[in-house]
Symmetry: C2
């Protein structure tokens, strides 16, 4: 799938709505994926994203060691893969293979993009001072990609216990908010 | 509207999906409201919420001074009020009056609940060490309320520039995620 560069100054428009994301990492020659919902924008430009990645996750060690990851945004068609990825550990499973996901080379970081996701955000760790206490990483998005073929992708919003709200209508109101 | 206590251990189910929230504060005898989308869960119990409140907002000073706020979650029926609140400053306007919102006394903090919102989370500032650099506050939710009359409220997810995704379908998948 041919992805296009997405402007870094617009990254907030992808993450501010609060979608479930899939975090890809690479460590010791092995790529891995986890599902994440505990993230927020922290700055528009350069785009900074704060996120909690628990020390119980295999991805935590990879992120600490390599300081790189990709935030991949799945649409609702990938719901089963999203949940499957969240239900097993990369210490035991090659998740790209198990869930038939395609690893594409990133441009600025070592972890791969998940090609099936409609957007991919290449990230470097920017600030670790909240990691010890909260497992909270601040990431800088250094390159962003979008799939121009996927119009109006509907994202997933995790409500806990396996329930997800799926994007429905889009409404437009005259907002001065960024 | 008679609100019921909502279990603190379930608060993540309200915020993890990434809804727009309305933050109420009270300072020098005046209550104020702002609209916010840059927040994330950081811990289940006690529930901790990280959020960015810019120093450009009138609410920033109130939060720094009083260390208390309420996160109120509106449903789609309140969209115009949500945007209206986001488009003006509490330094000039009494937003409760202007947007016909009802201030209800909270139980553990001084800022009022917004009665029209289907959920209200009373918060105290828990950690300010990221405020200087990022305007990032860690809040502890100390009391939570839900409106039992509002079944399946559909929340708003800000996509920037006045566009909001509204919750559509809810799907349930067998997840081991919390």
């Amino acid at each position: 799938m041919a992805k296009k560069t997405f402007p870094l100054s617009e990254v907030y428009r992808l993450l501010e709505p609060g979608p479930v994301v899939m975090v890809s990492t690479a460590h010791k020659g092995k790529a891995n994926i986890m599902t994440m919902s505990w993230q927020t924008m922290m700055e528009f430009a350069p785009p900074l994203v704060g996120c909690v990645i628990s020390g119980r996750n295999h991805s935590f060690d990879a992120l600490v060691a390599t300081r790189e990851c990709v935030l991949n945004i799945p649409s609702v068609e990938m719901a089963k893969q999203v949940v499957g990825v969240g239900n097993c550990s990369g210490s035991k499973v090659d998740k790209f293979r198990k869930f038939k996901l395609t690893a594409m080379p990133a441009s600025k970081v070592a972890p791969p993009l998940i090609d099936e996701c409609f957007a991919n955000l290449e990230c470097r760790v920017y600030d670790t001072r909240m990691v010890n206490k909260y497992n909270f990483f601040v990431l800088e998005v250094v390159k962003a990609w979008i799939d121009p073929a996927k119009k109006n992708p509907r994202t997933l919003h995790h409500q806990g216990k396996g329930y997800f709200a799926v994007d429905g209508d889009t409404i437009k109101l005259s907002s001065k908010m960024a």
